[in-house]
Amino acid sequence: MKLSHEEVLHIARLARLGLSEVEVNRLQEQLSNILENFELLQQVDTGNVPPTTQSITLQNIMKDDKVSNSLPKDQILANAPRKEGDFFRVRAVLGE
């Protein structure tokens, strides 16, 4: 399993992860090496085996539709890098 330079850039873009050229090259080598080692999974016969997404048998956990307290706005906004009044300040989403 050898990842190309372009594939690494494509994955980074999907993850919205900026990478330097040095990081792209290093990840290309390391991820290729890791995936090559993990190819042994393809040998396992999983024909009729269902996937496991979690290890306990609970399903469809519902909550009562009751109003409860939430945290005060000022506490939520206290960690915001940029804010304006009662809002998180974001950069323009449209118009690029």
Partner: protein, 486 residues
């Protein structure tokens, strides 16, 4: 005042209750010890002296009113991925370097309601991704037994702090061995409860189907006491198990008659250190002498696939969980960006360290169009096989016994350039998270002055069985009484 550096919770509780010692005195001794050894250990990201003294004063009032639980007034250290209201919670990451949670994790609400005293937050591998604390964005914690070696990880700060006498116990989190492996490396007791036993609410998410919070303590009784305090259903964690919790100290007897233990041969992997293998054989023979029936050479044939399964599933879940770090709501934010996307990409580029980026990339790849079936879905199917083999083994055995790690603590720097070698140090612990089982690591020997841990694995929600086995072994041996000189 007498030295309190290495006492247990139950010993300290007796001193507090009989008023031979106050919580303020105990807390001051803990803080003094921290200032004395921290330059060498570097186990803590934050020292919460002021908070601790206030909590200790309140605990002393509770004790004066005879309103005490076993954890009242006892100093504790919390891994820095567990949210503490008003106290920085960094995950040892630049991206959360200044994050102050507006709420407490459920485990913190529980400890606070019992009058616990928080003296610090411990260093870890960034976002709990690692086996040595070398992936911390801040510094590497030292092993108290040899400062040129790692304390294990990712809860390396918690393990080193308990072994080094900084607090009487600690909380850690375990996604693939992150409580047990450092416990083994530092000669303390580390328990990973069954998935769902302890609420994950307020634990910063890494891999949500694998993460569990648990205690690092100086003996097995303390492990049971802390589990009593933190276990139980929580409506705020939808994977929390709605089952009653027993008093985990009731099972602590030295009687192993009638218990049937299996020793899976795949855990004595290629590359296992000879001394570790010998220590395990001696320890398991000891369990036999204590009355357990032992079957050697049991086979769990899918074990060799566990590493690949884990390192596809955990990074996949991590890549989704860590998508929330976008520089908008909290955490580090890159300010000089030209656009929204540029800001987001640069925030993540400069906010995350190398291992976190590696796992986000690996997980994103395994989940991406065209590769999902071949990697992620395949790993989930092999996960089923691993679980089924454990289920079958537990039809016959009450517990399984293995080494915690194939080697003693390794040198700082030894594995940093080779991610696969680093991943292999968790080869004995990560199958347990894949199956959601409870497991405990206890001191079981030394090689050249470095600790060796033994792992005892139980069926789901059988913490009592593994605690009982661990307790019987501990009472019959002296390993846990050895303390490092710092």
């Amino acid at each position: 005042m007498m030295t309190q550096d290495q006492i247990t919770i139950h010993e300290a509780h007796k001193l507090l209750k009989s008023k031979k010692l106050s919580s303020v005195e105990l807390t001051k001794a803990s803080l003094e010890r921290i200032h004395q050894v921290e330059p060498k250990l570097q186990a803590l990201v934050s020292i919460t002296s002021k908070l601790a003294i206030n909590q200790a004063k309140r605990a002393d009032e509770l004790i004066a009113a005879s309103n005490t639980g076993l954890l009242t007034g006892i100093p504790v250290i919390i891994k820095d991925n567990i949210c503490t209201e008003g106290v920085k919670t960094t995950c040892s990451s630049k991206i959360l370097e200044n994050f102050v949670p507006p709420y407490d994790a459920t485990v913190m609400e529980k400890l606070n309601s019992l009058g616990a005293v928080v003296v610090g937050k411990s260093n870890m591998d960034e976002f709990a991704m690692g086996s040595s604390t070398e992936n911390s964005a801040f510094f590497t914690t030292r092993n108290p037994w040899d400062s040129s070696r790692v304390p294990g990880g990712s809860s390396g700060g918690s393990a080193a702090a308990v072994a080094g006498g900084e607090a009487i116990y600690a909380l850690g989190s375990d996604t693939g061995g992150s409580i047990r492996q450092p416990a083994g490396f530092c000669n303390v007791t580390g328990l990973k409860p069954t998935y769902g036993r302890v609420s994950r609410y307020g634990l910063v998410a890494f891999a949500s189907s694998l993460d569990q919070i648990g205690p690092l303590t100086r003996d097995v009784r303390d492990s049971a006491l802390v589990l009593n305090a933190i276990a139980g259903y929580d409506s705020r964690d939808s994977t929390s198990a709605p089952y009653p919790t027993p008093d985990y100290t009731q099972c602590l007897t030295s009687e192993l008659e009638g218990l049937h233990l299996g020793v899976p041969k795949e855990y004595f992997v290629e590359g296992i250190q000879t001394e570790v293998e010998e220590a395990m054989k001696a320890a398991i023979t000891k369990l036999e002498e204590l009355g357990a029936r032992v079957e050697w050479g049991v086979s769990l044939p899918s074990t060799p696939y566990a590493l690949a399964v884990y390192y596809i599933i955990a990074p996949s879940e991590a890549s989704a969980n860590l998508a929330r770090y976008d520089g908008v709501k909290y955490g580090f934010s890159y300010m000089d960006a030209s656009s929204m996307w540029d800001a987001m990409e640069k925030t993540r580029q400069y906010g995350f360290g190398a291992e976190v980026k590696r796992r986000i990339m690996l997980g994103t790849y395994a989940l991406s169009a065209g590769y999902y079936d071949a990697w992620y879905l395949k790993a989930q199917k092999v996960r089923t096989l691993i679980r089924q083999e454990f289920d079958q083994a537990f039809e016959k055995f009450d517990a399984l016994v293995t080494p915690t790690s194939p080697t003693v603590p390794f040198k700082i720097g030894e594995k940093v350039d080779d991610p696969l070698q680093m991943y292999l140090s968790d080869v004995c612990t990560l199958p347990i998270n894949i199956a959601g089982l409870p497991a405990i690591s206890i001191p079981a020997g030394f090689a050249d002055g470095l600790p060796i841990g033994m792992q005892i694995i139980g069926k789901p929600f059988s913490e009592e069985t593994i605690l009982k086995i661990a307790y019987a072994y501990e009472q019959a041996t002296e390993w846990h009484k050895r303390k490092p000189e710092i």
